[in-house]
Amino acid sequence: MDINYTPEESAFRDEVRAFLNDKLPADISRKVKEHKRLGKEDTVRWQKILNEQGWLALHWPKEHGGTGWSPIQKHIFEEECAEAGAPTVLPFGVNMVAPVIIKFGTQEQKDYYLPRILRSDDWWCQGYSEPGAGSDLASLKTRAVREGDHYIVNGQKTWTTLGQHANMIFCLVRTDPDAKKQEGISFLLIDMEKSEGITVRPLITLDGEHEVNEVFFDNVKVPVENLVGEENKGWTCAKYLLTFERTGIAGVGSSKAALAHLKQVAREQQVNGKPLIEEPHFRARLADVEMELMSLEMTNLRTVAAAEAGGVPGAESSFLKIMGTELRQEITDLFRRAAGPHALPFLPEELEGDFEGPYVGPEFAASVASRYFNFRKLSIFGGSNEIQKNIISKMILGL
């Protein structure tokens, strides 16, 4: 047992650092570090840079253009990216639909979609949740009826993250309403640009942001070759995708970067002439977060290292989802407290990348309250933390 990085792993870290130092555009990392809004263009530009380096598809097999990295290397990469202020890669294409296509897709689907995903030609979004199907995803009602060489799709999806930018959506649809609920579901790829009958409506979240949408399908014609896997076997794809959705779910890299930023803020903020970081209550909470983060990081490394042979962690990743999201939420709570009364002013224009000031309060304070509220989503999405506990309860504890 040795938890220290090997010389090879340290050399890899240096290589990643040099790459980020060299290739991560300064205007993008500034927006990430200062929690400004990122546009579609920012994400796409960064993904293209990553792809040029061959570092976009972390989890794919090498023959399809993946990195072939070990879990420890992936951890180092994510940590360095977060520290450098690199934007999050849009997960829906490269980390969600792509693994499903690789595992269950036809050769034609692989040949067509995978290179497009690597080149960021398509902006994918996820059509899973529905108004009546949240945690109980398998109760989804969006209907697809086979008519000749097409499916006709009717229904509604919701919580479609960044769907306003998307030209492609992967959907779970019901193809057999008479089967048991998990058995009548299929996995369909739908072109949002070329299809008639799709309407995307913004949903404004409690922080005033437009991040999620609802998507309506009104007699949308989808070619049958857009079915992935067998008809009525979509639930297998859905579950497989969820395991990928949970890789990196611990968010150790972003928590580390956020904690470092929080400490810096707490050193600069003054309380009655003394740095906030010396205020005993604040400092005690900071130390507690630091401790929890050390525990989380080691748990994450243990889990990914154990999964090295199998590719992705199993139900153990549910522990990481709960621990990781609770910690990230705790850090946003501390940021809110660090801002003090200046957490209150709500000026969305201060979050634009080209806002030049003056800020009402300290610059960091502009985003803290809205981010705190935005991050409540972490314990809800990707399978709520209560669902994760159900999974652990069943799969690990056998209850």
């Binding site: 047992m1 938890i3 400092r283 401790m291 050390m294 080691m298 522990f319 504890l397």
Partner: protein, 383 residues
């Protein structure tokens, strides 16, 4: 980065595991608890025969040459059986300090006696006024010819009641809470002037309040250089903390397993109570806390060679996590067992007591978070 145990570490784990499984049953342990000295000499001799008393010492001294991970493996096994023998007091806290500070003659004499199981030690470091702070030492050692005269009071000395020899931390210089001026002495526990008030602790161990009044020792009782014991003392206490954290991890694992088994069996409203989601989620949280403790204990155990600040930061973080997570696991175990969790006859209650009270040995959660606070700027990038 490698989380797997080496072959030697696995062998050690199996050795301790087999011993605890086969001989350290709940009933056997209860008999040991009832005995006057509070531990089993037979068991101690078995530890010696199996080589366990030499784990942290060099091969030249007759030991196993083990480091943090090896002690972790042993202590986890002990934690699973709630072993009460004075391993931490003798081997880790006293033996390692002698190994770090002693000259060849001292090491030859005392380490051989420890490894062979003939002599048991206790570390008399903490004092009533200092609570968990080992630098607050008012016990004085004054030069007296070739030797010293030691006077002072030591509080809650782990296994101080049964020890044959004590390692006493006394002040040979400096103010009452100065880091400089601390020296370590080997003192016969039955020497003139040593008064011990021994007692059982609520977590199944034994300890003593020890008064030293004008205890005369020779010059050869001093370990290392006069007044310069602090670094070795802290490195030794850190190893003791790793041992305690690992013991907590082992005990927490069993508390979780026993609770899980119980809620699968116990029927109410016509179903096993483990079918109720309110209990399932609590059980999941217990396991999550256990994983945290396992993880951070590994981090601490592998950090002995890190720079002192980073080592202390990680070890204090681990002990603080044990305090926080241990309390949760222990309280939830009792709660999920319901009335049975309140019973002395239910093994889990003994685990709960040990897990909670580990927080009171060598610094609790608040104490170690306080240390972590002072080290908040130490870069933790190594892992």
């Amino acid at each position: 980065m490698d989380f797997k145990l080496s072959d030697e570490q696995r062998m050690l784990e199996e050795t301790v595991g087999r011993l605890v499984r086969d001989t350290y049953t709940f009933d056997a342990r209860n008999k040991i608890l009832e005995s006057e000295q509070g531990f089993s000499t037979d068991m101690w001799n078995q530890f010696a025969e199996l080589g366990l008393l030499g784990v942290p010492f060099s091969e030249e001294a007759g030991g196993f040459n083990g480091g943090g991970p090896e002690l972790m493996v042993v202590a986890e096994g002990f934690g699973r059986g709630l072993v009460v023998e004075p391993y931490l007091a003798t081997v880790v806290l006293s033996g390692v300090l002698i190994d770090k500070l002693g000259d060849d003659a001292q090491k030859e004499q005392w380490l051989a006696a420890i490894i062979g199981g003939e002599t048991r030690f206790a570390l008399a470091a903490y004092e009533p006024r200092g609570r968990y702070d080992h630098t607050v030492v008012e016990t004085s050692a004054k030069k007296d010819g070739d030797g010293y005269v030691i006077s002072g009071e030591k509080a809650v000395v782990l296994h101080g009641d049964s020890a044959d020899q004590l390692v006493v931390i006394a002040r040979t210089g400096g103010d009452a809470d100065a880091r400089d001026g601390l020296s370590a002495f080997i003192v016969d526990a039955n020497a003139d002037g040593v008064t011990r008030k021994g007692y059982a602790t609520i977590d199944g161990l034994h300890a003593a309040e020890i008064t030293l009044s004008n205890v005369k020792v020779g010059g050869d009782a001093l370990l290392g250089e006069e007044g310069k014991a602090i670094d070795a003392l802290e490195a030794t206490l850190d190893l003791g903390l790793i041992t305690l954290c690992a013991e907590a991890a082992g005990a927490m694992e069993v508390a979780c397993d026993q609770t899980l088994e119980y809620i699968k069996e116990r029927q109410q409203f016509g179903v096993p109570i483990g079918k109720f989601q309110a209990l399932q989620h609590r059980m999941v949280e217990m396991r999550m806390e256990l994983e945290k403790v396992r993880s951070i204990t590994m981090l601490a155990a592998c950090s002995l060679d890190a720079p002192a600040d980073l080592r202390k930061k990680r070890i204090s973080a681990a002990k603080a996590q044990v305090g926080k997570s241990g309390r949760k696991v222990a309280e939830e175990a009792i709660q999920l067992f319901g009335g049975m969790g309140m019973m002395e006859e239910t093994p889990v209650s003994h685990y709960a007591k040990r897990i909670v009270m580990i927080d009171h040995w060598f610094g609790d959660r608040e104490y170690h978070l306080g240390i972590l606070e002072t080290l908040i700027d130490v870069d933790d990038h190594a892992a």
